[in-house]
């Protein structure tokens, strides 16, 4: 199964709707509760990051019997220092993002904690690509 979603930067009223759809699809697959939660938390953190930092983005999720691979591409400022961005507490979030309960520099570390693999590519001034994979077995 493949799911693709457009994500609008800055639109917090819609943030998480793609993750919610994917969660519903995963619940149909009779997967372990903890696996679903790890997947959903990872995707949601990444989706919120696009809403918080980018102009727009796409999320594509490929699900098969072995696991899920989610690719998130955004058009945005990019990440100048990925190593720093992976450090808990490092944040460039705006006050508005913080008002929504995010922007504490915990998103990328939490994705890494929950995913079996996380790859980040970023070009400053162009955008960022995250590839998140979680194995079902």
């Amino acid at each position: 199964m493949t799911f693709t979603y457009e994500i609008e930067g800055g639109n917090f009223s819609r943030a998480g709707s793609a993750s919610s759809d994917i969660k519903k699809a995963l619940k149909q697959l009779d997967l372990d509760y903890n696996i679903i939660k790890r997947v959903v938390v990872s995707i949601y953190e990444a989706e919120v990051n696009i809403v918080a930092h980018a102009r727009r983005g796409t999320l594509t999720a490929d699900i098969d019997a072995d696991g899920i691979v989610v690719v998130l591409d955004d058009e945005g400022p990019g990440i100048p220092d990925i190593e720093a961005a992976m450090t808990t507490g490092f944040s460039t979030a705006s006050p508005r993002v913080r008002e929504m309960g995010f922007g504490a520099g915990m998103g990328l570390p939490n994705i890494k904690k929950n995913a079996d693999s996380l790859h980040i590519q970023s070009t400053v001034g162009v955008g960022t690509r995250l590839e998140i994979a979680v194995n079902f077995k």
Partner: protein, 114 residues
């Protein structure tokens, strides 16, 4: 702790959900930071928060939290209530502070997540 007792202790108002038949609360976690909520490993604690916006409910959905309490007299918005109903959540409001709310629940046997 059963929800009707929790409501009585906290002078809480039911916003949506079925207080009589909702599962009892064993553990609770208090935070205004949704990023912290997303790091929890505990299964379905009560979330006590003063953050009242749509992402409060969305975060609860992702974290498999089904019982939410808005403290500090914060009010749920219509979009929050709609999303909470879609996810079969119980949503409450209390005029008490997070500190007072947490103290009362702890004193009456509700356990911390960590």
């Amino acid at each position: 702790m059963k929800i009707p007792l929790l409501m009585q202790l906290l002078e809480a108002r039911l916003v949506c959900g079925d207080a009589q038949n909702h599962p009892s609360v064993e553990h609770a976690f208090a935070s205004d930071l949704m990023s912290d909520v997303l790091t929890l490993d505990t299964c379905s604690p009560l979330l006590i928060t003063g953050l009242s916006n749509i992402q409060t409910i969305r975060t609860a959905e992702m974290a498999d939290i089904h019982t939410l309490l808005l403290a500090r007299n914060k009010k749920a918005t219509p979009d929050m209530i709609a999303l909470a109903n879609q996810n079969n959540m119980l949503l409450l409001e209390t005029p008490f502070s997070i500190f007072k709310t947490s103290g009362i629940l702890y004193q009456n046997g509700v356990k911390p997540v960590y």
